[in-house]
């Protein structure tokens, strides 16, 4: 048997739709069509029993190339630094001040969306900006 080749990334979280919409804004992803048989996501939600309502949401790459992100509600909160995180890239091919400026511009775009700037790492050539999403999940702008 050959290998799997298809993967998605799942986030444990408190508010799946809110977090999914945040990541849509970060990555240029979109909310997928509602499940089959439903006109809108709200229609789908209303069909769910109360305890299952808002228990999951997803976002997808509109070109179909990048992996789907799936957000599932869990009862427990976040208690340790995540051991898995996303790196999102805006400074590809850039170095020095030009790269730092690109990263800082992206950081400035994401903060109003609810992201938190942790620190700016810059050694004169390379740079990286660790941030937190709206539920405290670490990610890096690099």
């Amino acid at each position: 048997m050959s290998a799997i080749k298809k993967f998605q990334v799942t986030f444990d979280c408190a508010e799946p739709e809110r977090l999914a919409r945040f990541w849509c804004e970060v990555l240029g992803y979109v909310v997928p069509p509602p499940p089959e048989g439903f006109e809108t996501w709200d229609d789908y939600k209303r069909s769910q029993p109360p305890e299952q309502r808002d228990s999951w949401f997803a976002c997808i790459d509109p070109s179909g190339v990048g992996p789907r992100l799936y957000f599932q509600r869990v009862p427990e909160g976040k208690i340790a630094k995540n051991r898995v995180h996303l790196d999102v890239r805006v400074g590809t091919g850039l170095v020095g001040k030009e790269r730092l400026a690109a990263l800082e511009a992206e950081c400035a775009r994401l903060v109003p969306l609810g992201a938190v700037h942790v620190q700016t790492l810059y050694d004169g050539n390379d740079s990286c900006i660790p941030m937190l999403d709206i539920e405290g999940n670490e990610f890096c702008i690099d």
């Binding site: 993967f7 898995v84 790196d87």
Partner: protein, 131 residues
């Protein structure tokens, strides 16, 4: 303006071992190595490609001093493409994965497993053509 999801970074003790495991799982290849880091992917990203379009992210294994202390809050879901979920689980057990319990109920149609360093992942329903 937007960002690209370019890498999924995984903290670990032994980047080479985990990279080898996940290469076998996903049919990825090692595309870069540096001190304490191994990167695997199904392609080698270029600046032009990343700028031009969405891309499948690579996996980047980074050596860290601390161990894993709690269930990961992010995990990979993988989908078999040419065999049953059950057969894929058997293959992954042979590669060093284990079955694990995160409180899922037994009637689920996916299987929760852990990689050789205990990172949880799920094997979902197969995407193989059905006869």
């Amino acid at each position: 303006m937007t960002s690209r999801f370019t890498e999924l970074a995984v903290d670990c003790h032994d980047p080479e071992r985990l990279a080898a495991f996940w290469c076998e799982v996903l049919d990825f290849k090692v595309i870069d190595r540096s001190e304490g880091k191994v990167e695997i992917g199904c392609w080698v990203p270029t600046v032009e490609d990343v700028r031009a379009r969405q891309m499948p992210p690579t996996l980047l294994f980074i050596q860290v001093p601390e161990g894993k202390s709690v269930k990961n809050r992010l995990h990979l879901d993988v989908s078999p493409i040419d065999g049953s979920t059950e057969d894929e689980v058997t293959r992954l057990l042979g590669l060093g994965a284990t079955k694990t319990d995160v409180g899922q109920s037994s009637d689920r149609n996916w299987v929760v497993m852990a990689d050789p360093e205990g990172n949880e992942f799920c094997v979902l329903r197969t995407l193989a053509p059905q006869n």
